[in-house]
Amino acid sequence: MPILTYLDAIRQGIWEEMERDPAVFLLGEDIGVYGGAFKVTAGMLEKFGAERVIDTPISESAIVGAAVGAALMGMRPVAEMQFMDFIACGFDQIANMAAKMRYRWGPAVPLVIRGPAGAGVHGGPFHSQSNEMWFVHTPGLKVTAPATAYDAKGLIKASIRDDNPVIFFEHKFLYRRIKEEVPADDYIVPLGKARVAREGDDIAVITYGAMVWTALEAAETLVKEGISLEVVDLRTLLPYDEDTVLTSARKCSKVILLHEDTRTGGMAGELAALIAEKAFEDLDGPVVRITSPDTPVPFSPPLEEFFLPNAKRLADAARKLAAY
């Protein structure tokens, strides 16, 4: 199987869908001639033409709105946010137009809004955000955040084929750092299904995005100390896979919820509530959250490192919890 980066896996996934279905088209800032700020759409203008790869003005509301309109007509737009931080500028179109349409009056709104999110590359407060929770808390959307190249390809394809507005969080830290065997042929990873990234018995670490790799790193360290972590990669955040989360929580009886996003109101809270309600009897210890603190993402490398959760912090928490 060919080795692809996480970035190229997304690119291949989009490319295949563009070839497969003429209804798929792209719009966003600098995605055509330039191929996108991170080159996810490189070569697509040349291959698919200017009608299907549209460079737009700096107008996130118009980008999202145009995607909604085209989706209503049966197209399958894939809109890029140059950075996911800028999604705040198109927020109302997403939260009030796209998300509520199906429920209110029926039409399907098959669109994808995708772009680079997350920290770790010293992007500063406006190029590093993990803003998935605004959307996880907006009924009518789907939200996905792949951690592996395999999933990135499979999930972007599933998102494009899905009949709903999907917010697709690409982790920019993983773009070129993750290189894996990725099938060159057509497959999808279904939305809404988590993945056990590593089996273990003592503590279930439930996470997603770049933190999956952090969890795996900590698991590798801890296994030598006789502590066995199970790592669950959520893959999709809305709807998320309750069954897999609960199965792991019940199996391990101890749970750590890990994410790069800030703490208060983060995904860990949602998962804690699920577990505290549905796996209460199986718990042998407190449910622990490891997250970044409630601040913007600072720019300077030492500050950002301080801000981000890491394998050491996770391992420390796991040791403490294991001893509980």
Partner: protein, 319 residues
């Protein structure tokens, strides 16, 4: 492309129907049957009717709350409007949303959302899809004077201009946005100046003259359909009631209302038809009779529809 005699009668019918629907809504409102407010299009009917009547079946409209006339011309029935306002089960959204917040892709109607300005970008997407598919479809976005202050209006207008999309913007300048007069909403005299800021050609018409509106829309739609890009029509009119039924609009100068009352779009059109001998008293009476029985039947139907059962709320948010 002047309307035929039969078409003039139909225009007259829709103007009157629009008004009768509004009046019936006020009746229902006074009877306590409406849930929420009634947003009247009194005095602005010529805009909805004149513009929508100039369109073709494959065109798309994005009406707002005062565009009941557009809904009617696109094939919705008075009952649909009544049912929505009364939150009944048989309404187009089954009670999930209110008033004119309904739509139908088959009829080419985008359901409004409350957030003003947001439907223009969506119309851009509709026009974009049409172009990709080589469908000669025009997308028409309605917007109020107040609505043009929103960022989304700007982004949509600019996007349409850059992409030369088959979008027509119908800007209803009725002098007010809730209690805010247009001069507190913008520092320009005409919404055609807004259009200039985007390089969008524009025309300003008397929004109470249905034939002028119709002619302007026919031209604008032809312009858009031919690939020459968007067009903006400012329709000058006056909001003749409060923002909604609860609002007595005491902030509106009485003299202004008086002036515009004399320019009522139905009166003006009747005068025209009479002067040009295009409608006999008998024809008029027959239209009125048709209207009355239609409204009666539609209102009765709507009023007999139950409220939806609570469980209907549990509709999936996903397709």
């Amino acid at each position: 492309m002047n309307p035929s005699r039969a078409q003039l009668h139909e225009l007259y019918y829709f103007l009157r129907l629009n008004r009768r629907v509004d009046e019936q809504l006020v009746n229902f409102y006074r009877q306590g049957k409406v849930v929420g407010g009634v947003y009247s299009s009194l005095g602005q009917e010529a805009i909805s009717v004149g513009t929508a009547y100039a369109l073709e079946a494959q065109d798309f409209v994005a009406p707002l709350i005062r565009n009941v006339g557009v809904m009617l011309i696109r094939g919705f029935r008075p009952r649909d409007v009544f049912l929505q306002y009364m939150a009944r089960k048989d309404g187009p959204t089954g009670g999930r949303d209110a008033n004119t917040h309904f739509g139908d892709l088959a009829r080419g109607v985008l359901a409004p959302i409350s957030m003003l300005g947001e439907t223009l970008p969506v119309c851009c997407g509709i026009a974009l899809a049409a172009r990709m598919r080589r469908e000669p479809r025009v997308a028409v976005a309605y917007i109020g004077d107040g609505g043009t202050s929103t960022g989304s209006f700007h982004e949509g207008a600019n996007f349409a201009a850059v992409q030369k999309l088959a979008v027509v913007i119908v800007a209803e300048n009725n002098g007010w946005a809730y209690s805010t007069p247009t001069e507190k909403q913008m520092a320009i005299r005409s919404l055609t100046e807004r259009a200039q800021g985007y390089g969008i050609p524009a025309a300003s018409v008397d929004g109470n003259a249905v034939l002028a509106v119709h002619a302007a829309m026919a031209k604008a739609a032809a312009h858009a359909r031919s690939g020459r890009g968007p067009f903006l029509i400012e329709c000058r009119t006056m909001r003749m009631k409060g923002h909604a039924e609860h609002d007595d609009a005491r902030y509106v100068p009485k003299a202004l209302l008086e002036k515009w009352r004399k320019r009522d779009p139905i009166l003006l059109f009747e005068k025209f038809l009479r002067a040009k001998k295009l409608m006999t008293p008998k024809e008029k009476t027959s239209i009125e009779e048709r209207l009355e029985s239609e409204i009666r039947a539609e209102a009765a139907f709507a009023d007999s529809s139950p409220l939806p059962p609570g469980e209907d709320a549990a509709r999936p948010v996903w397709a």
